[in-house]
């Protein structure tokens, strides 16, 4: 497992219960974008001493990180006014296979956000 910048190509995104992608900046505060959420992922993994790279994280580790990341996204947001009830946070892992760019999406965590 190679753990340096070039091999860590993860992006995090949100989907609602209908499977529609929810763009961060259209629904949430400016400081809760895909970049900031990604920083939270790496900090979480570093703080717990988990290895991350090459899409090899354990599902439970992803779930723990996803729960924390999603909690930060919806913190102080008027979630009851949104036009969806649940949110799932996904990790997209980009990799090269036979000189072809590929990716894999993994659901990290999902929850009902409306009270």
């Amino acid at each position: 497992m190679k753990k340096y910048f070039l091999f860590i190509a993860y992006v995090f995104f949100l989907k609602n219960e209908r499977g529609e992608m929810i763009p961060f900046k259209k629904y949430f505060a400016q400081n809760k974008d895909a970049g900031n959420v990604a920083h939270n992922f790496y900090i979480h993994f570093n703080q717990h001493g988990f290895m991350y790279s090459d899409g090899a994280e354990k599902p439970e580790q992803l779930r723990m990180a996803g729960k924390e990341m999603l909690a930060m996204v919806i913190k102080d947001e008027p979630v009851n006014q949104l036009d969806f009830d649940s949110l799932g946070i996904y990790r997209r892992y980009y990799f090269l296979e036979n000189d072809e760019l590929k990716y894999r999406d993994d659901l990290m965590y999902e929850q009902r956000i409306k009270q």
Partner: protein, 296 residues
């Protein structure tokens, strides 16, 4: 003539050069400070200073505006060259505190260069003496060069020669960076652009390996910039090219590193001022030699 011109540019430390450098530095600094106050409204992962004491007060809107006002006040003192030992030291401390707030939001190692530039200038003022005019610029050049040199060595330590041989993996980084745009705004064009750039990298591996190799060499030899003002300018232009390449291919531009580098090594405002004034006097002399008389 070109030799005389370059001597005039590289062998002097005029006040206007220092003033325009300060102006550029505070303009970008205040913008970064404002950005941090808007974006970092809580401290999920205390880092640096914030691990020693609770600095959540920094992230409240009320204190944010108070600190922002202090940053403005210090910038005015800095521009008007007032109490410079105190002013540059306070700017360093304020930078350290505010950028710790950013680091406590998981955004690591972005603003260290800016912070250290104010410390370097503060040291120059405390040292004072006949070389002050040179030192306040030269010490900052040393900080920038050290920053790039450390970036190069850390790449070698973390990944060894793999940094160059694995360069085609930049394709996945490119796809990732453009995907950020799509997942932030929902604009599919970002995704398509990322795919296009990533496929270019996959199809042109030797070219990308060459670019990564050249960038690493540039970073590892950045210390050459401290040897003379001419070297600093040349290295500034080369590093500018490197950053533009990274921005074009990977959609990455780390503002708090790129701008201080450009300001300290190239000082575009002063370079522009120098070119325009020299061109003006050259033209004026030409015309006077042909019999024109100017009233100034």
């Amino acid at each position: 003539m070109s030799s005389a011109l370059s001597n005039k540019y590289f062998n002097r430390y005029p006040r206007v050069e220092w003033l325009l450098m300060k102006l550029s530095l505070v303009y970008i600094w205040l913008d970064i400070v404002r950005h941090i106050f808007i974006n970092d409204t809580f401290l999920p992962y205390p880092a640096g200073l914030c691990t020693f004491f609770d600095c959540s007060f920094l992230a409240t809107p009320k204190t944010a505006w108070w600190f922002y006002s202090v940053a403005y006040f210090l910038s005015i003192l800095y521009l008007f060259e007032r109490w410079m030992k105190f002013t540059t030291l306070c700017m360093f401390l304020l930078s350290l505190m505010l950028f710790t707030l950013e680091e406590s939001n998981g955004i690591l190692n972005r603003c260290a260069l800016y912070t250290m530039i104010f410390l370097a200038q503060s040291i120059a003022y405390f040292k004072a003496g006949p070389n002050l005019k040179k030192n306040r610029l030269q010490f900052a050049v040393q900080i920038v060069a050290a920053g790039y040199f450390l970036a190069g060595t850390s790449k070698l330590i973390a990944s060894g020669p793999g940094w160059i041989t694995d360069a085609p993996y930049a394709a996945v980084q490119i796809a990732k960076n453009y995907a950020y745009g799509y997942f932030n705004y929902g604009n599919i064009a970002d995704m398509q652009m990322g795919l296009k750039q990533a496929n270019f990298v996959i199809a042109n591996k030797p070219f990308i390996i060459f670019l990564f190799g050249m960038s690493l060499v540039l970073e590892l030899t950045a210390w050459v910039a401290v040897m003379s003002k001419r070297n600093a300018f040349i290295y500034g232009c080369l590093l500018f090219g490197m950053h533009m390449g990274i921005y074009y291919f990977m959609d990455i531009l780390i503002v708090a590193i790129y701008y201080p580098m450009v300001i300290i090594l190239i000082n575009p405002l002063y370079t522009g001022y120098f070119v325009v004034t020299e061109a003006f006097y050259w033209l004026k002399n030409k015309l006077e030699n042909r019999g024109f008389v100017f009233g100034f």
